[in-house]
Symmetry: C2
Subunit: 168 residues, 2 copies
Amino acid sequence: MVQDFAYFERGIDRISRQLPGMPRDRVVLNRLFFSVFKELDELYNRHLEEHGLNTSSFLAMVMLISCEENRLNPRDLSNALVASRTNVTRLTDELVGAGWVARNPSIEDRRRVDLSLTAAGRELILGVLPKVWLLIERQWADFSADEIVAFDLLLRKMQRSLSRIKDA
Amino acid sequence: MVQDFAYFERGIDRISRQLPGMPRDRVVLNRLFFSVFKELDELYNRHLEEHGLNTSSFLAMVMLISCEENRLNPRDLSNALVASRTNVTRLTDELVGAGWVARNPSIEDRRRVDLSLTAAGRELILGVLPKVWLLIERQWADFSADEIVAFDLLLRKMQRSLSRIKDA
DNA sequence: ATAAAATAATTACATTTGTAATTATTCCAT
DNA sequence: ATGGAATAATTACAAATGTAATTATTTTAT
């Protein structure tokens, strides 16, 4: 069956036989990474749905409750979400429409817009966060403290590698 | 600035002060995972673009060249890509339109459709794979063999954990 | 044998995301 | 001080993805 990863590995080996030079272990790693991410995103979207959120709007609200001045520009959100500015504009429209976020012209720079949580938005995200944390704890329940640390280091290393390739 | 992860960690700590009970290390891990994935997806999309592909259509073609009988049903692709059947229908329309994939009614079960690569599709993917492998090698160049193995094991563990939560 | 349930793919429609062009403002080099 | 370049956000539009309903076929329980 498709769901277990051995299926993919057999496929990868079939390609390897048709075309030499495959860095097999790293090809497997990337494939794993993609499929695990999709499952992860799906899981959190499913749990956030009942609160009218998805992983993007949730992260946007989290960025807003966690930022220094309690306000953030669309540009910052775009970086934080690794999403286009366009999409952030639309997302913001949505959150403003729901009454969770306020848009205010920036005082220092009139090109800018300051986004901040409304009282309702703050209340929502403070209610959702503990539920998300419970899910996170279930998700990582089988991992030892050492494994968590190791995973963290590997992801950061991967991040550095990706940004180096990007800049090159 | 937003791009380095310390920025997120300071935000995470600000939340922690507003709301107790956060499993900090694992929250950081999930955030890292999301942001690394987005960067990864972006990188590969950028490199695949010149061949008229993106990560989805590329993986679809890879599944087709790597499958046992050289044919696959839309259903299988949907599982492999962790994408909706609808999206696979559209994706297939696209690949068929480009002349890379053929749609044939299945002999055993007339509800089904067999998808397979055309000669042009096969040629395309055999040309693209080596380039993708070069990128993969750059991406993982800094990782030792041990790190690759460790990462692989952690991702598989994560996959099992996610599928356990899904089934529950 | 046959009717209900299950399965496969697709269609119609909505949502999410992105690229390119536009508008407004600020920065910077003369 | 001022005109060109850079930056911020948005708008118009296109591409990618998803949900629910529909059609065709097969499986299964009587």
